[in-house]
C-alpha cells in the first residue's frame, strides 16, 4: 500500500514555524549558559557516583531490572479494526451511512456512526485508539480492560475513556459538542473547562463555546436552550450543575445567575489574569472582570490586570471592553510601557472597528511617544496602508521611504517597495 503524499502545510503553520525558527536559535542564553566545564564537572560527579554504586553490586541488580522491565513493557500487537457497512480511507476517514456503519475492534470495542457522521481513526495501538469526530454523532461501547486507553477528539475537546458506553455529537460550524454518558466514566478536557471534567453514568454535558456554556445535566432532562445574551456587561449564563449530583436532581434551564465555570473540583485560588492570558484562557479573564464589575476594574485595577484584560478582550473581539481598559491604562499609568503600547493597540482596535481616521491618530501618537518602540514597525506600516487607502499613492510615498529607511526588513517593507515601484 503506497503512502499518501505529504500535504503542504497551511500558510498559517508556515508563518508560525518561521517565527519559531527565527526566535528560537542555538545561541547560549545570556545567563546561566551551560559550558563545557559544567559538563565536565557533571561527568566527574556522575562517574564518582557510579563507582560508588558498583562497589555494592547495584549494577548487576539494575541490569536484571532493566531486562525485566523490557520484557514487561515490550509492545504488544496493536488492536485490529474492521469496518462494518462502510469503508475507511487510507488516511483513516470513515463516514456513517443509513446501513449503520460501525468500527469493530479486536478487543470487543464498538464505535457506531450515525448517518452522515464523519470521523477519522488516528493511532491504534494495543491499548486502544484515538478517534477524531469531524461532525455528527458517534456512539462508543468501550470494553473495560486493564491498560485500556481510548480518546475521542471533537474540535478542541478531548474525551478520555477507559471502559464505558457513550455518544458524542459534534457540530463543527459552531464548535458545539454534546456528550451522553450511558455507563462508566469519562473525562472531558478543552477550552472553558478547568482541570478536566469528570462525568458519571447518566449524565450529559453540553458545550457551546460561542456562548461560553458548559452545562452538565441528567440524560433525561431536555437540552437547555441558548442563553439570552444581554448587552454587556454582564453576560447571562445558565447555572452549572456539579458533576457529582445524582440523576434525580433536575438541572435548571437557562436563567440569570452568577456565572460559574464547570469544573470537576473545587474552584482553585484565583490566578493572575496575566497568567490566564498566557494560558489562552481569555474568557476566564473576562468573566473575572465582569464579576468585579468592569467600571471598578477600569478605575481600580493594577496596570498588569488592565493589560491582561485588554489583551483577553481583544482576542475575544470584545472591543467594548478592550478600548476602555486601554484608555484607563493610559490615563491612570501614563508613564508605563503598557500605556505607550496601548496607543498602538487602540489604533488597531479603531482600525478593526472601521474608523480609519481615529486609527491613524493613535498610530501617530504611538510613533511620537515611542519611535523606537516594539510596535513601531507595525504602526508605521499600518499608517502607510491607511494613508494609501484614504489619500492615494502620492500621499503615501514619503511614508514608504521613511519605512524602508527605518525598517528595511520590516513586515511592511515589501509593501513599501511595491508602492514606490508603481508608476
Amino acid at each position: 500500500m503506497t503512502e499518501p503524499r505529504e500535504p503542504t502545510p497551511a500558510r498559517a503553520l508556515e508563518q508560525l514555524a518561521a517565527l519559531a525558527q527565527k526566535s528560537l536559535t542555538g545561541d547560549p542564553p545570556k545567563r546561566h549558559a551551560a559550558t563545557f566545564a559544567d559538563l565536565a564537572r557533571r561527568a566527574e560527579r556522575e562517574a564518582a557516583s557510579r563507582r560508588k554504586r558498583l562497589s555494592f553490586g547495584v549494577a548487576a541488580v539494575a541490569l536484571a531490572a532493566v531486562v525485566l522491565v523490557w520484557v514487561v513493557l515490550r509492545p504488544a500487537p496493536a488492536l485490529e479494526l474492521a469496518v462494518v457497512n462502510g469503508d475507511m480511507s487510507r488516511s483513516g476517514e470513515v463516514s456513517g451511512s443509513a446501513r449503520g456503519t460501525r468500527l469493530a475492534f479486536s478487543d470487543g470495542t464498538q464505535v457506531a456512526l450515525s448517518d452522515a457522521a464523519r470521523a477519522r481513526v488516528g493511532s491504534v495501538d494495543e491499548h486502544g485508539a484515538e478517534l477524531g469526530l469531524e461532525s455528527g454523532r458517534v456512539t462508543l461501547s468501550v470494553v473495560k480492560r486493564q491498560g485500556a486507553r481510548w480518546s475521542v477528539t471533537a474540535g478542541d475537546y478531548r474525551v478520555s475513556v477507559k471502559g464505558t458506553t457513550f455518544s458524542v455529537d459534534f457540530a463543527p460550524e459552531r464548535g458545539d459538542m454534546t456528550l451522553d454518558l450511558l455507563t462508566g466514566s469519562v473525562s472531558v478536557s478543552g477550552p472553558l473547562i478547568t482541570g478536566g471534567l469528570e462525568l458519571r453514568a447518566g449524565q450529559r454535558v453540553l458545550i457551546r463555546p460561542r456562548e461560553g456554556l458548559v452545562q452538565v445535566q441528567p440524560l433525561e432532562a431536555p437540552e437547555a436552550s441558548a442563553p439570552v445574551a444581554t448587552s454587556p456587561p454582564p453576560r447571562v449564563e445558565p447555572a452549572v450543575e456539579p458533576p457529582d449530583a445524582g440523576p434525580a436532581a433536575e438541572a435548571p434551564a437557562a436563567r440569570p445567575t452568577t456565572p460559574r465555570r464547570a469544573t470537576g473540583k473545587r474552584s482553585p485560588q484565583p490566578e493572575p489574569w496575566s497568567r490566564l492570558v498566557a494560558a489562552g484562557r481569555y474568557a476566564a479573564v473576562l468573566e473575572a472582570a465582569e464579576q468585579r464589575e468592569l467600571g471598578r476594574v477600569y478605575s481600580g485595577a493594577s496596570a498588569a490586570d488592565l493589560q491582561a484584560l485588554a489583551d483577553a478582550a481583544r482576542y475575544l473581539r470584545r472591543s467594548d471592553v478592550a478600548r476602555p481598559a486601554l484608555l484607563a491604562l493610559r490615563e491612570r499609568f501614563p508613564a508605563s510601557n503598557g500605556a505607550r503600547e496601548a496607543a498602538f493597540l487602540l489604533g488597531r482596535s479603531e482600525e478593526t472597528g472601521g474608523d480609519a481616521a481615529r486609527a491613524l491618530e493613535w498610530y501617530e501618537r504611538y510613533l511620537s511617544e515611542s519611535p523606537e518602540g516594539p510596535y513601531a514597525a507595525q504602526a508605521l506600516g499600518r499608517k502607510l496602508l491607511l494613508v494609501r487607502e484614504r489619500s492615494g499613492r502620492g500621499a503615501a510615498l514619503s511614508i514608504a521611504r521613511d519605512y524602508l529607511q527605518r525598517f528595511p526588513d520590516g513586515p511592511y517593507a515589501a509593501t513599501a517597495r511595491s508602492l514606490l515601484a508603481e508608476r
Binding site: 528560537l24 545561541d27 542564553p29 546561566h32 559538563l39 561527568a43 558498583l54 489562552g280
Partner: protein, 233 residues
C-alpha cells in the same frame, strides 16, 4: 581525563541511558549546521571520541551544542530552560559514541539522542502536569527571544497548542517544519519507519492547522481574522 572516565565506566555508564536502543539507520549523513562542518569532519571527530583523544569532547561540544540547544528550544518551546537537557544529551553521546556504526553520521546520531531525550522530557512534563505538580522550568525572559510583543504572544500560544500533542507527534512536527529536516532524517531521529514519520507529521499538521485557525490570539498575529480575511496586501 574526561573521556576515559566517561567511556571507561563500562556497565555503569549504560545504566544512565534510556532502555530504548538508538539505531543509526542507513541514511545520508546530515550536513552539520554548526561551523559548516562536513560529514568527513564529523567522521574524524567521531573516531577521535571513540579513541579517547583528550580534545575530542570539547570539540564535539563546541560544534554541536548550538544545534542541540536549538532543537531543544524548538521542541520544548520558548518558556523552557534547556541547558540541563543539553548537558544530558552530551553525557549520553559520550557514553554511547562507540556504538556508532557510521562515523560520518555523528550528527544524525546526536540528533537521535537529542530527540529521545526531548521526548522523555515532554512525557515527564506531561506527567507532572497530570499530577498537578508545579513546573520546574525557569521562566525565560521572552523579550530576549523576540522583541515584538505580538510575536512573543503568538509564539507562546503556538507552543501551548503543541502541548496538545503527544511527544512523538510534536517532535516529528518540530523536526520537520521548524528544524527543516527531511522526512527520512525525521524518521531516523525518531527511530521509526519513514511511513510512520510521515503519518505522525501529517496528522499533527492537520490537527494543528485546525487549532491555529480557531485561536483568536494567533488569528490576530497572522492577520487573517476569524473570517479568513487578510489585513494587508
Amino acid at each position: 581525563m574526561l573521556v576515559p572516565r566517561l567511556l571507561g565506566s563500562s556497565v555503569g555508564a549504560f545504566l544512565l541511558v534510556p532502555a530504548v536502543p538508538v539505531v543509526v539507520r542507513k541514511v545520508e549523513p546530515i550536513q552539520c549546521a554548526s561551523h559548516g562542518a562536513t560529514p568527513a569532519d564529523d567522521a574524524a571527530l567521531a573516531l577521535a571520541l571513540v579513541a579517547g583523544e583528550a580534545p575530542a569532547p570539547r570539540h564535539a561540544w563546541d560544534r554541536f551544542a548550538p544545534m542541540v540547544r536549538r532543537i531543544a528550544r524548538r521542541t520544548l518551546g520558548p518558556d523552557t530552560d534547556v541547558e540541563d537537557i543539553v548537558q544530558l544529551v552530551f553525557m549520553k553521546l559520550f557514553a554511547r559514541v562507540h556504538t556508532l556504526r557510521e562515523p560520518q553520521a555523528l550528527s544524525a546520531f546526536l540528533i537521535s539522542i537529542t530527540t529521545f531525550t526531548l521526548r522523555r522530557e515532554l512525557r515527564r512534563r506531561k506527567l507532572q502536569s497530570w499530577l498537578g505538580l508545579a513546573s520546574d522550568a525557569a521562566a525565560t525572559d521572552l523579550r530576549v527571544v523576540h522583541p515584538d510583543p505580538l510575536a512573543r504572544e503568538a509564539l507562546r500560544r503556538f507552543y501551548a497548542l503543541l502541548d496538545h500533542f503527544g511527544a512523538r507527534d510534536r517532535t516529528a512536527f518540530v523536526l520537520r517544519y521548524v528544524e527543516g529536516l527531511e522526512l527520512s532524517d525525521v524518521a531516523a531521529a525518531l527511530g521509526v519507519s519513514l511511513a510512520t514519520a510521515k503519518r505522525a507529521v501529517t496528522r499533527t499538521q492537520e490537527r494543528l492547522t485546525r487549532l491555529v485557525e480557531r485561536d483568536p490570539a494567533l488569528a490576530e498575529y497572522l492577520g487573517t481574522g476569524l473570517l479568513g480575511r487578510r489585513e494587508h496586501d
